[in-house]
């Protein structure tokens, strides 16, 4: 497999995996989190313990990391495989967007969600965790969407040369 083929494969992977991550993130921002405002943070905490901290604890980090590796990998390899320079801008934007989204998830959202793991977290800590997750999720969803759009643009540019 040539370096060009590896770059293109990573770009395809970044679009497919990044699209799924963006779709999940935007859906959570627009559909799920507003529902928990109505139902109450304690219901959110209960659901999160069973969903995000259940199967989600494995599925989402794996999916997110794979998307990150593909985005950053395509951006880096494009420099070495003589890809057209017009592909650099979208691929770099996507790589930076994916890295920022990872930092927001890992260092701002995940610690808040993980505080729910205990048997009976107190109501004020649940309230604080919910407010922080809601707030940071806007940035996360925005970054994943920008990354996804840039990866689509980058793939189109890569394939046209």
């Amino acid at each position: 497999m040539t370096l060009v083929a590896v770059t293109r494969s990573l770009a395809v992977g970044a679009v497919v995996l990044g699209g799924i991550v963006a779709g999940f993130s935007v859906n959570r921002l627009l559909v799920e989190l507003p529902a928990w405002v109505n139902l109450g943070p304690e219901q959110w905490a209960s659901f999160t313990r069973h969903a995000d901290l259940g199967k989600g604890l494995v599925v989402y980090p794996l999916e997110g990391l794979a998307a990150l590796v593909c985005s950053v990998g395509a951006a880096v390899l494009a420099h070495f495989d003589r890809s057209d320079e017009s592909a650099f801008l979208p691929l770099h934007l996507a790589g930076v967007g994916a890295l920022l989204a990872f930092f927001v998830t890992r260092f701002l959202i995940a610690p808040e969600v993980l505080t729910l793991r205990g048997d009976s977290p107190n109501p004020s800590s649940i309230q604080n965790a919910f407010a922080a997750v809601r707030s940071w999720w806007q940035l996360k969803a925005g970054l994943h969407t920008i990354t996804f759009a840039c990866n689509v643009w980058g793939l189109m540019t890569l394939m046209s040369h």
């Binding site: 779709g23 529902a35 109505n38 069973h50 394939m159």
Partner: protein, 162 residues
């Protein structure tokens, strides 16, 4: 030709957002009802998918197939390479397929909507569990077809750009 590329890029973005939302529902949300209970899950779906969800997921589910069908007509009329026609056509067929599956899944879920008259509101846990189980099966098929549509759409984009 540039218009067609833009159309396919837009369809890819719409399909990706839809596939991600749908997979989340099948992989994480629906199974959570076994642990939080069907009544709590029912309240959650009424406050999420049947509230804000209808303004986000329904438009995505309709716009995606429209873009895919429009793109397939366009490609056919341009007389492009077989690979491009096949991939764009396959994405369109799959998109129409998930639209039909949405109609089926939606008809099952309709009984659980908050717009039902009081005498038809379902409160019985066994009845709720049965409806969610049936919905889950159709939702799994729908999510798979939506994912395949997205993947076929990416293939179509690659085939057209080469």
């Amino acid at each position: 030709m540039d218009g067609l590329k833009f159309l396919l890029a837009a369809a890819t973005i719409v399909d990706g957002l839809l596939a991600g939302a749908s997979l989340d529902q099948s992989v994480e949300q629906l199974p959570a009802r076994h642990r939080i209970g069907v009544r709590a899950y029912h309240a959650y779906t009424q406050a999420s998918h049947m509230a804000n969800g209808r303004f986000w997921l329904i438009p995505l589910g309709i716009v995606g197939p429209i873009l895919r069908v429009a793109a397939s007509f366009w490609v056919y009329r341009l007389g492009l390479a077989e690979d491009a026609v096949l991939s764009v056509g396959m994405a369109a067929v799959l998109a129409v397929g998930h639209l039909l599956l949405t109609l089926r899944a939606g008809s099952i879920n309709w009984a659980l909507t908050p717009w039902q008259p009081p005498e038809r509101q379902i409160k019985d846990e066994l009845e709720l569990a049965k409806i969610f189980q049936s919905f889950e099966r159709w939702q799994a098929v729908r999510a798979s077809v939506q994912l395949l549509t997205f993947v076929a759409g990416v293939w179509a984009l690659v085939a057209l750009m080469q």
